[in-house]
Symmetry: D2
Subunit: 362 residues, 4 copies
């Protein structure tokens, strides 16, 4: 008995000494190796009906120059208690630019995409080239490219931002630099990248930049819509319907090394099967309405809404409306795939459909 | 003196013995290591005005089933004395399919492309999928895919063939197989590859074949024309004008591992600079007229003509007409580039233009 | 005036409403976009003279089966307040296996390496193949391979562990699975991977697994030492001396997709120049002694010590002893390089050497 | 009847006109599309007992400066009637350098390898770096690198040459340049590439040339022998025994983009199964004796002999001696594999062994 007590005392002393030596005993913390991914990220919908008035009020009260040089509402995952993150790796936001406003130039190591929601003709300038924005366009701001935004039209412009900020912060690799002068010079014709690289399967032989991000900076909605239209009737993926990946035309890979972008069409009456993967997704409803079932809970969404699917959460999608539903999304799968950490699992039982045991009414 | 004689005799004996032993003395043949590439391939134009009547006469006299199962005139380089080759690696041809004709199914290890010259609505079927042919379309027949051609329209159809037959023959790697049954089954919808992979920068996430050739089997002229139109005013390459490469959408590389395809626009009044490369090119004039200067000789070409540029020949192009000239071409550069044998040299003197010392009047 | 007050009130109301809506105003948080990486990770040395007695005491008090199934002391970065991490992405540890002990089989999505410090002849078994451990050997346990460790010798065995646990946890992609049965079956000869893939520049033609991790699971010290010896006198890198990367023999890349391993020799009297990079490093001193200057502070190290260099910290190394110093290290650079986030900067002033303004005396 | 005659006449006229127009009717030549590869290359053995005296006589009669600047006997495939080729793509040769001789510097676009047969200590200098030659060493002379050979020892040196001359000539991409000055400068230490890149699985972090050929220019026999020894008892490939590929350490691919090099061990009593592939092979017997069965004919070989296996020929190997047989070989498979033209077929019947119906007694 006495010896036992001694051992317990000795062990406590050991733990004290380990703590002082900055050495953690694995046997005390090994439960952090969980059988499956656990995350504080929760599935959630941000309603456009709620976001839009907030964005409009921000426009009335907060000048563009304030703080971050952008009037953008970051979609903070409710599971994280106010952190700047929608998933562990990605953050989505909605940004407003009023007529005559200019968001000043800067650059940063996190990469960004914009998906235009409302307003025609404003621009996002990347390294001195203006990308003209039309609703449904995807615009890229790759890692450490200078960029500013301007609205010379007479109406407000709103877009979705998608960035890998949480991931780059987790790596502690954030670099940020403001442009010191007034105005960033325009050095190339508007939509120059679209002129050169926009024709998809035909590419210039004399100009082929060697970048890990796509040289095409604007993916216009006209092309996207045409692609979706031409696939009408195609069955597509059992899990995602007609889901198309925006492509880096010179590699066939994702448009950015850390962010994959998809456009996805769900036909009226369609209902996909459930699966899960180690990557996370933020959806934006570009058109129509429908629902997703995430880990057994049903999330109904409508045009303009934002929906987050945490990693390793079971999910399936349905369209119970009369109109084609079109979802745009950002995904962190390139991170997982590049590093051997991507996994996917199919929901095998009940014909691939989860039992619905709850409903999101946020 | 006497000893000298003996040595010469001994050396002759040596050469006799070497020949018997199938051993060549390098010092007798080393001149085959030439300072620069030499070739029997010569630059040449095949006039459409001459080819077309010959093709038409072939149509009247020779049934489709005869011999090679195809009514095609192979453009034999005049430097080769009747060999089946337009360059050392490539062969171009013109093929005619009359109304109600079917060219039977077969497959072969040489890869092929078709570029449609005349006639709408015939098809080239690849592995059970019909690619509908319109003028200006590029259609692929990759290595060892089953293919047949059919014309169910009421007019003749003519296209350019491009194959790597001379190269595959040089490697002695020709495999050929006729389809034994009557008719090859149709297993996929018409233009299925165009539906799935035709939108260029948006690609299906659920269907990504891992082939070294492009999964997109038809590159329609409507898209090509639009790409050229959107680049109007772009300067392009100093040597080739607005020269676009048809792309394997999943690799960003050439459409076939051995054959690169280009479409090239020369604005009226333009005149490119001269360069040369180890790869060879066969041009087909899709639109307009102009000229090329090849190793100091001027070759004037018109719509429908075929022009061959041998490897390592200096060449430059000009458009002295009033209309945009559009050239389609096949190139063997992927062979050279894959194997470390590609080289290019710029013509540095006289502002990049060769002195013209002759004119092709074939 | 009154209006101003109203605006402030309205703005506060806005922020309340935003918080309720899980929407963060970017202009309030944009300072998180720092000009340069900031990190809580601090440079630190864990002294072997301190770790060794703690490890020995753990061996006396804590049975191998306890908790994490491994008797390993995790080097917790002092800047993180007790988190399981040595850098933002990597964790290093020291592990002890006593005679007759067996650490039970399990597998996990974090990848691991072992670098043997003491004891000959124990084994680490990977997917049913025992890798026999000798001091200085590097042994791999790739992502989700089954592994157990055993010591059938009559002396204790100690090794360094290196894992990407913090990174995989940041991605919330941890999967862990214990082996349910007693004992993991041995299915291949001991050191089979060394037999097949160990000869470096000669590789089997009949066995070439397609894995993103190296098929070679043991890199024996005998080969490492010979490589270092053959380079004696070579100047190597200005920043790292004769620094060699352990190679995936079939890709020429790092041994694991997330962890690069280096062996590094500093000749007596050598002193490298300073640089910094976005990747972090954990060093283990395999032989000799010397010092590093990190962000202006001098860290003296000796055989057995562990040293962490945070990302984006200036660092240079010196050997002021009489003996060659040999450093083994793990680095997270593959993560940064795969995703376009790697950057490096050279210390340009003062001949490349930092001013030393302090000294670590931990 | 009369009409028939007319048609035949018309058709003859057509053929005349086609010939004048340099247009070949496919239906007359389509038989060149053979069901399977056909080749004039025949399997053959060059006996060392026959070659050696011829090489010695050449040494006595022909000074090194003569013609090709090399005293090398090219193994001309008997099927080709004296062409400079051992297979369609490769040529092998034996080269003799007498004491005090120097083969002058030049460079050429065909790539070369040397495999040392006899004599220690001579050198092959590549781009100013001497590779010291020992029996069994593999030395590379990549595409267009300057090289000369010197023998400062007191004994003759003999090696095997292997080049892709026939292939580069088929592409008409031969470039050759003699070094104009006397003597090529030595700019790097002897065996520098061996020092830097020779340790196989450990590679310098500061020096990583981006070349498509291996930066390691010498693969020493000591390492090769050790690799073979460590694999003793391993079964290896059913078709080739313990066949190892020499590796480009930074790509895991072949040492040259066009030539793969193998070392292959056949244990006494072993007999491999038959297969065939579109690539061709030239074997050199480094040690022991044995036999190969090629398309049903048996070829017995001994130390020093050269054996050619044409593409698409069935072949199997046996060792009916008491000693391990070691074969070095060059293969053109990288050409076929890079371009999608590689195919392999297994001999399925009779337990994988061909019926022997003849014997080579050359």
């Amino acid at each position: 008995m006495a010896i036992k007590v001694d051992e317990a005392v000795l062990e406590e002393q050991l733990y004290d000494d380990l703590a002082r030596a900055n050495a953690l005993p694995l046997w005390k913390i090994a439960s952090l190796m969980t059988p499956e991914p656990t995350t504080r990220i929760i599935p959630h919908i941000w309603r456009w009906s709620e976001l839009e008035p907030l964005l409009q009020r921000s426009g009335e009260l907060v000048p563009i120059e304030r703080g971050g040089e952008r009037r953008a509402l970051q979609l903070a995952n409710p599971g994280l208690g106010g952190e700047w993150a929608t998933t562990d790796t990605l953050v989505a936001a909605v940004q407003l630019l009023l007529p005559a406003e200019r968001a000043p130039a800067h650059r940063h190591s996190p990469s960004a995409i914009r998906f235009i929601m409302e307003g025609e003709g404003a621009y996002s300038a990347v390294d001195g080239e203006r990308c003209i924005m039309m609703p449904g366009d995807l615009v890229l701001t790759p890692n450490f490219t200078w960029h500013d935004h301007g609205n010379d039209t007479d109406h407000r412009v709103i877009w979705m931002d998608g960035l890998d900020v949480p991931f780059v912060r987790a790596l502690n690799s954030v670099f940020f630099q403001p442009w010191k002068e007034v105005g960033f010079p325009t050095t190339r014709p508007d939509n120059n990248s679209l002129t050169l690289y926009g024709s998809g399967s035909l590419q210039p032989t004399w100009a082929r930049p060697q970048t890990d991000y796509s040289p095409l900076l604007v993916y216009p909605w006209t092309q996207t819509e045409q692609a979706l239209r031409s696939m009408r009737g195609v069955e597509g993926s059992p899990f995602d319907g007609v889901a198309l990946q925006y492509l880096h035309p010179h590699t066939g890979g994702p448009v950015l090394p850390t962010i994959d972008c998809w456009i996805q069409s769900l036909a009226p009456g369609s209902h996909t099967k459930a699966h899960r993967h180690t990557s996370s997704v933020v959806y934006h409803v570009h058109q129509g309405s429908g629902f997703s079932v995430i880990d057994g809970r049903r999330f109904d969404w409508q045009r303009g809404d934002y929906l987050v699917i945490p990693q390793w959460a079971w999910h399936e999608h349905g369209n119970d409306g009369d109109e084609e539903a079109v979802l745009f999304s950002i995904q962190d799968s390139p991170i997982h795939k590049s590093l051997g950490l991507y996994r996917e699992e199919v929901f095998e039982t009940a014909g691939g459909h989860q039992e619905v045991t709850g409903r999101f009414d946020g």
